[in-house]
């Protein structure tokens, strides 16, 4: 198990040429099973691991995958789970991960293209995974295309067009959640919309409207307020919503963070949850367990989505299976204690 073991050492021990070892390592065809086994034994015995630099130099690939995300989301459960999923798949496939949080709100959106370009020329990553909201930023998508870098998008708002992507149908899931509230007898339900730049989150609002309309319930303007995904924005919206004379009996916030903000305000105002007010969130973040009572929410299979996306990207990098361009995954309604029957 020595870091200085080279392909030549393996070839010598196995009594073959280095090219044969290379074939075995890269799982290429045209190696007799007996030979293959002999080489594999030698590899195991020496603890041989190919040198990535040498490989990269010869093959003009880096075996590096980039994960691009908005630094504002770096602390979210979402990004952490994406990192986990991507890493899991990278390890299996022999790739390494380079994370890259972007601060494009500070530097201006124009700096984004330059930063992406610079990063790619410097790091030589082979392909990129884009997470929301970058997965909907055409400047990011187009810059990568111009650089001829394969990309895959996670949860874009528009999955029909553009580059390949993995997503879950937020509209349907939000509809499910709204129907859950309606079934509990709620008629005045408020919705807190997310940041308008996160298109996938906007679909949650559509799902809410779908369900309300289908149930013949009123959606006056007051029942949808505009948040920006954060706890603080949830607080702000809740203060407004709960100050109306006929306050809603349920609030569906399009992120858990905002839902937690709502709950904080509700507690301060003396509401009992879910007795006086039901609260629902979306994302199944860590915070959903840290509020009291535990938050009813929607869970996307973020980990698996990231794994699958990484797999698709690597397939692309290997030059195969370009056919799959969209994978849709299902989200799940997670019923906890923050939603209950509407007060009479």
């Amino acid at each position: 198990m020595d870091i200085t073991t080279t392909i030549e050492d393996v070839a010598n021990l196995a009594g073959v040429s280095i090219k044969t070892v290379s074939r075995v390592v890269n799982m290429e065809p045209n190696v007799r099973p007996a030979t293959r086994e002999r080489v594999q034994d030698a590899i195991r015995e020496l603890g041989y691991q190919p040198n990535p630099s040498a490989r990269g130099l010869a093959s003009k690939r880096s075996y590096l995958v980039g994960l691009f995300y908005d630094d504002l989301m770096a602390e979210s459960t979402y990004i952490v789970n994406v990192q986990r999923g991507v890493l899991t798949r990278c390890r299996k496939e022999g790739y390494e991960l380079l994370i890259h949080p972007f601060n494009y709100h500070q530097n201006g959106i124009n700096g984004l293209a330059e930063e992406i370009t610079a990063n790619i020329i410097k790091s030589r990553i082979d392909g990129v995974i884009l997470t929301p909201p970058l997965s909907d930023l055409s400047i990011a998508i187009e810059t990568l295309k111009r650089l001829d870098k394969p990309q895959i998008r996670l949860s874009p708002g528009h999955h029909e067009s553009g580059s390949p992507c993995v997503y879950s149908d937020d509209r349907i899931a939000a509809r499910l959640m709204t129907e859950h509230l309606i079934q509990l007898g709620h008629k005045r339900i408020a919705f807190i919309a997310g940041h308008s730049g996160h298109l996938a989150i906007v679909h949650r609002q559509t799902g809410f409207i779908d369900a309300m309309t289908a149930a013949g319930l009123n959606i006056d303007n007051a029942s949808v307020s505009q948040g920006s995904n954060t706890f603080e924005s949830g607080v702000k919206c809740a203060r407004e919503i709960l100050s109306h004379e006929r306050a809603p009996t349920a609030i569906f916030a399009s992120t858990d963070e905002m839902a937690a903000g709502v709950m904080s305000v509700a507690h301060q105002l003396g509401y009992s949850i879910p007795g006086d007010l039901s609260v629902a969130g979306y994302d199944n973040s860590q915070i959903a367990h840290q509020v009291w009572p535990a938050l009813t929410t929607i869970a996307q299979p973020v980990n698996e989505m990231a794994e699958i996306a990484t797999g698709l990207l690597i397939d692309q990098l290997r030059g195969g299976k370009k056919s799959i361009s969209q994978v849709a995954m299902q989200s799940e309604l997670v019923l906890r204690d923050s939603t209950g029957p509407a007060p009479c």
Copy 2:
């Protein structure tokens, strides 16, 4: 700005040999200023970036730094800030970052040495940054030494011995916080200890005891309870602490997560914060803003600590400045709204 520009293109344009270009790129001495400038112009004009694989192959280095952490902490504000700090410095110094969360609770501590070894042989990282609790795990430290990999530890419990480290004095900061509570008139103060495997967090308890003793206040056994850093453990401890007949008027939890758990329980039991009960935390996590009222806590300069640690590691990798082996940083008391005068 072409990814296929090589050192030779630059040499041709500048009218020098590739070795001279190499000298300029690597900031080596013995280049006439005029020559250096000519080369730099050529580099700029062509948008040249050296190929990391070629560099790595020739120099037997990867220009890759590894960040090793406990996957259980991946969602913490702490790890996210460490990632940010490390990335900032890596970019400045021309290194790339490979993150590696470890799941050693599942796989058993014995698997850890193997996983570290396998990872290093595969990825060829040049050096490693260890975060708590890995920075106190001798199996991690020793494995890296055996592999001859430079390492730097962030916030270890024992900073005197072992490999170089960057830390902040948690004992002093915890003492400060406790003194703050004492100055507010609190006499019955409970402390919630953190996970015993996180040695730096154990120092927080010592600081608490320092202050209590110095103030001549009683520390009966009941006033220190054992948590495990998490929100849930804070909930559990708080339920116990607040069930005593002479409940404390202040609770100092050694992590913000636990403090948030305490606040949740306190609200449920009808305590007003800080009127009936003061609550203090430690870490200045995201959650400190998401509780109501906002949490008084201790802020470590995690970002800077990570940047400095990365700088020290890279210095080591470059073969210089081995002299600095410990850097101590100062934490800051952040007064918010969860602490107030003791009730009469």
